[in-house]
Subunit: 330 residues, 2 copies
Amino acid sequence: MTFLRQPTRAGVRDAAAKVAAILPPTPLFVAEVHGTPVAFKAECLQPMGAFKLRGAWHRLTAIAAEDRARGVVAFSSGNHAQGVAWAARRLSMPSVIVMPSDAPKVKRDATLAMGAELVDYDRKTESREKIAAHLAHARGAVLVPSFDDAWIIEGQGSAGVEAAAQADATGFGPITRVVSPCGGGGLAAGLALALPDAAIVTVEPEGWDDMARSLDAGWIEPVRDDPPPTACDSLQTMRVSERTFEVLARRDALGVAVSEAEVRAAQRWAASRLRLVVEPGGAVALAAMLAGRVAPMSGTLVLLSGGNTDLADYARVLAEEAPAALAATS
Amino acid sequence: MTFLRQPTRAGVRDAAAKVAAILPPTPLFVAEVHGTPVAFKAECLQPMGAFKLRGAWHRLTAIAAEDRARGVVAFSSGNHAQGVAWAARRLSMPSVIVMPSDAPKVKRDATLAMGAELVDYDRKTESREKIAAHLAHARGAVLVPSFDDAWIIEGQGSAGVEAAAQADATGFGPITRVVSPCGGGGLAAGLALALPDAAIVTVEPEGWDDMARSLDAGWIEPVRDDPPPTACDSLQTMRVSERTFEVLARRDALGVAVSEAEVRAAQRWAASRLRLVVEPGGAVALAAMLAGRVAPMSGTLVLLSGGNTDLADYARVLAEEAPAALAATS
């Protein structure tokens, strides 16, 4: 049984200090969207390509010294796996990642390259939750959830602490609104705690906008049966958690959804204007701004949360239409 | 007649202070190449997508207050044009860019968007040098060369001052070798002045390696007749200048050339490992490292000098082969 610790603003500040001790801040770029200057936090430029190492670092460093040798277990085929593997390697801890046997070879290789041990499961017949829980129990290892955990939420929120300091130092001014990609809601909830005076907007792919519907309803609504295919693999979460939902609901967060075409347009915009490779799930907040689903407003911070995408897929997105080449505008 | 001022290390330091007053340092990323950690200076993340605003800023701020209203003139269809336009707008100075009438619309638009006035010329029948000189004379404006100028060289060198401070602060350690893209040699010469104890390597596209041949010969050799086509539009300079050549020759700089395929492989590597969009000419130094034309060595700084490239062209480069997807490795 886990003690149901709730994430706090103090915890986010603690996480930010811990992350600052080992990683330089990711850049904050200011660029105009529909004529309004917007601040972009480039988490795609983290060493493993996404914000996920923040939460993993805060969580793993909270493990008592005497327990570290038994390691950590996580289930994920994506950025969370790499974040946990990255943090574990840095702490010389063993890490086990439970990954579907049909996960792309590149994701398997990247996780292996970070020193993790992979345990396969069959997506159709086995439960990764059960396998991970069993492994953690058998080894005395700590199970690291991808979003439903106070430390993980606090750790992700460190991006907001960093961004606020950068916005202040560079003259962008106070952050009054945060627009964030949302899967399970760990990043968005962390940012809400980090920036207590900002309006919060979560962005999800169409058909996967369970956080938006939950915020609207006032209780948690899972993704409906047979959700549409989406390129946003990092945001395919079937249900948010009490912890993330409550933080966001208490802040009257607004949830919006974006189309697949809007996501691709945002990926192209990020390449041409910011020279950044952003994965589909990492580009949804930008997509919402560009598509006018979130009105331009000064003081807006947009999270570009990750850049891990298959090169061939990415090339197809860039080639789809290329009205604006990579000439600069700001 | 211009006083033939020579670029100096003191001038580079002055330029670095001036640039630091208006722009945050571009990030310095450390990633392994063939097992050796290498520092990458991401000049593609400058606001206009390339290092060129450094030299332009140092040059334009050296113009006496009473002369600024008459503005500046430059000839370029690429990054230099945008750098000059960027600096002029920032100083509320008029800028005129002489550009071939068949320059890509996106480059024209980007330069116009930065507030520059465009003057067309016919690439086949007119001399841009003459047009620019005539315009400068007629308007009493200052002609800003793209590399053959002490201020421009010093300004570009500010990237080296920044990188040295970052390498020191992040524990990468002293920079003992710099590998830099080379067109006219302004960036490479500036870096040589900025880092007086480092070995200098210039990198050019095959067939356009006049700096390499000049350094080898001991005197300036222009590009031979009928050079091969290259995607590295920003490095298509027919002849380096005395100023840039002498700085590099005095430092026993080594020049190497890379193939077009090696450049494309470097663009793919930068996208997948660093999540950066790098233009062909901006990727040649990385290409030389990856292709083994420059041996891995600790303390090496590689310049990723720009990221302004047509999206459709870039998509073709990424699609060409995609053995490694964008999963992270470090």
